[in-house]
């Protein structure tokens, strides 16, 4: 568990009220029949040098949040303040310039690399966009240095992606992101496709880079055990909304939202003495194109109350963080 390392208290990234819905078009005339409510009313902050984890299962919208921040998807509402500017309101040229400090590493290392380009060209591509490196040989030297930093042999720079293993490809993607000297990196399920022993290597690398360079990460994942190792703050998402948020330690030791509790209980433990503890939560995740009324989680919640079926709970403040559940509603003084 990492102690919150916010140094100067300034915020690097502030997301406020983000909403990204996809239109569903059906029929011959491609008329819009509804919305996939991928992300609704998401707000959070990331300080410099901090790791913020966004956790949830498939369909919760966490990947869409990451892509919306980078404007790889179009958000309808909300603000994304990065380095003092609202990214969603920038024109395309200013956005391109802003991208330098905001990079992303994807889940599938094979699909993230162009199979027809040498890795040296792919790592150097970003440098050319942002004018890093004085000339060709300077850039080449930087590529070599980057490969060493991610623990790859610099002499392999003329090779193609298919000549590397999955873990090595992910290191190449990290080198590519580092090449443009970012301040925040969105890691979208970046270790999910890797074997557990390789995952450990990459996690250590990410942590070392954070300490060395003061990087911030928006770490998007479904794997809570990884979150515990890397993140300072955690937000849990369900069907497009944040349902709980707080410092990592508190989330794991004292989860407030029933969904968080279910997620934590569902992780099979490796402790040979603890077995059969995987509490099953009822049913499957509903589709984000037709979320349940009221609290989105009420159909699967084991402590559901009557009001949950009809009223949408807001985010209630807790001592550390917040929870979108009526159980977290502060009781009136005097009760």
């Amino acid at each position: 568990m990492r102690k919150d390392a916010s140094r100067d208290g300034e915020t690097l990234l502030r997301v406020s009220g983000l909403q990204t819905w996809y239109p569903i078009r059906q029929g011959l005339m491609r008329r819009q029949t509804g919305w996939v409510q991928a992300v609704s009313d998401v707000s959070f902050e990331i300080a410099p040098g901090q790791t913020f984890a966004l956790v949830g299962e498939s369909g919760c919208g966490k990947t869409t949040v990451g892509r919306s921040i980078l404007r790889l998807e179009s958000a309808q509402k909300g603000e994304v303040f990065f380095e003092g500017r609202d990214l969603l309101k920038l024109d395309s040229n200013s956005m391109r310039a802003a991208r330098q400090h905001l990079q992303i590493i994807f889940q599938d290392p094979m699909a993230s690399l162009d199979p027809r380009m040498r890795i040296r060209d792919q790592i150097a591509e970003g440098m050319r966009s942002f004018g890093i490196g004085r000339n060709e040989s300077d850039r080449l030297a930087r590529v070599r240095a980057l490969l060493e930093r991610v623990q790859l042999d610099p002499d392999t720079l003329d090779r193609y992606p298919h000549e590397f293993s999955g873990g090595q490809r992910q290191r190449i993607c990290i080198a590519r992101a580092l090449a443009v000297e970012p301040r925040l990196i969105v890691c979208d399920e970046s270790v999910s496709a890797l074997d557990v022993s390789i995952q450990a290597q990459i996690l250590n690398l990410l942590r070392d880079l954070q300490e060395e360079l003061g990087l911030s990460y928006l770490f998007i994942t479904h794997d809570l055990s990884v979150v515990r190792y890397l993140a300072h703050q955690v937000a849990v998402m369900y069907l497009g909304k944040i349902v709980e948020q707080g410092p990592t330690e508190r989330i794991f030791d004292a989860p407030a939202h029933p969904y968080t509790k279910a997620l934590l209980a569902a992780i099979p433990s490796v402790d040979p003495e603890r077995r059969g503890g995987a509490l099953a939560v009822l049913g499957d995740v509903p589709s984000p194109s037709d979320p349940p009324a009221g609290c989105h989680f009420h159909t699967r919640c084991d402590v559901v109350m009557e009001r949950c079926r009809t009223q949408v709970p807001p985010l209630f403040e807790l001592e550390e963080g917040c929870s979108r559940c009526f159980l977290a509603e502060p009781t009136n003084p005097g009760d």
């Binding site: 892509r67 980078l70 790889l72 391109r96 310039a97 991208r99 330098q100 905001l102 990079q103 992303i104 994807f106 889940q107 599938d108 094979m110 699909a111 993230s112 690399l113 162009d114 199979p115 027809r116 380009m117 040498r118 792919q122 591509e125 970003g126 966009s129 942002f130 003329d158 193609y160 992606p161 298919h162 590397f164 293993s165 999955g166 993607c173 590519r176 443009v180």
Partner: protein, 343 residues
């Protein structure tokens, strides 16, 4: 069609094509992926590549033309006509009329030949050496196949990749264009264009090119749509690479294997189409198609005159076969190799 003299134009085109080929080879040698693919292809399909190379060589020899230098006793050409190397090799071999392969006398036993026993494949009705005519057809065939593909493929890429990558109204426009073209009977459109533009080689190439790009356009559009969604394209965007550069540096190279395979397959289809055009009377002069069409009637004579149609047909068959074998080899070498990766 041009104000230039035909042979100067042809020489210029030959030089341009040679330079282009040289540039292509230089580029391929730089990229290890392509270099290895080329070596593999050579290992697997040596014979077919050599055959195609021979045809290319003949076409090249037939593309260099100059005036003058004709010996005086040769009477059947004008003294100032531009003649190619192939022409000059066979200069003065013209007989009066038909003769069978290696024959001593003309076909109907009428008169002795000027060069008895030396015509490898006999002569045609005008007394021209059939082997010579077959060789001349090579250049035409390669132009029809190659030049047309060079017109059709960039056209298809422009519309297909543009529609697939940028979508929106441009996509709608291209969709409309494709649907319109696909709904028109291709052959009639082709005939109309050739009537309008003329029957010389270049016009026929342009007409064929304009009517053959639709299939590859659809294919490249579909492939571009797939590529666009891949993470490495998003990564390039996230790295601030401008959209046009993404198309050129990321999308097009990943379509390269499709382009090469389409080029090879289109080539055969086009050459065979020209044969049909010749049968309809609008083929290119000097092509194998014309030879075959002209020889049709000869088959009904008694005894049968078979050698000119056999020559043209075999030349055509061998070229198309070789091109298809090489094309198959290219497909094998490019596709699975590039996709292979370790876990």
């Amino acid at each position: 069609m041009m104000g230039l003299e035909a042979h100067v134009f042809s020489n210029a085109v030959t030089v341009v094509l040679l330079v282009g080929a040289g540039v292509l080879v230089a580029v391929v040698r730089r990229q290890r992926l392509w270099r290895e693919a080329a070596h593999q292809l050579w290992d697997r399909r040596k014979l077919a590549i050599i055959v195609v190379g021979l045809y290319l060589g003949v076409a090249l020899l037939d593309s260099i033309a100059w005036k003058g230098g004709i010996p005086e006793d040769v009477l059947d050409v004008l003294p100032n006509a531009p003649l190619t190397l192939i022409d000059r090799i066979f200069l003065g071999t013209k007989e009066a009329s038909y003769s069978a392969p290696f024959a001593d006398v003309e076909f109907y036993g009428a008169a002795p030949l000027r060069q008895p026993g030396s015509h490898l494949l006999g002569t045609d009705i005008l007394g021209r050496d059939v082997f010579y005519l077959a060789l001349k057809g090579a250049r035409v065939a390669l132009l029809i196949g190659g030049l047309t593909s060079l017109i059709a493929i960039p056209l298809a890429l422009l519309f297909g990749v543009g529609a697939g990558y940028f979508g929106g109204r441009f996509d709608d426009f291209v969709f409309f264009l494709i649907s319109t073209l696909a709904s028109m009977p291709g052959l009639l459109l082709l005939i109309a264009l050739i009537m309008a533009m003329g029957r010389d080689t270049l016009s026929v190439c342009v007409a064929l090119g304009v009517t053959s790009w639709v299939g590859f356009c659809r294919l490249s559009r579909a492939e571009t749509l797939k590529l666009r969604e891949l993470d490495f394209v998003s990564a390039a965007r996230a790295l601030g690479v401008p959209e046009i550069r993404i198309v050129i540096r990321h999308i097009l190279p990943n379509l390269a294997h499709l382009i090469v395979i389409t080029f090879v397959l289109m080539f055969s289809g086009l050459v065979l189409s020209e044969v049909v055009l010749s049968w309809l009377g609008i083929g290119v002069d000097g092509s194998w198609g014309q030879m075959i069409d002209g020889a049709r009637n000869e088959l009904s004579r008694e005894p049968v005159i078979w050698w000119n149609i056999a020559a043209a047909g075999s030349a055509l068959f061998v070229l198309i076969l070789a091109v298809n074998i090489v094309g198959d080899g290219i497909r094998d070498v490019l596709d699975p190799r590039m996709q292979k990766g370790s876990p």
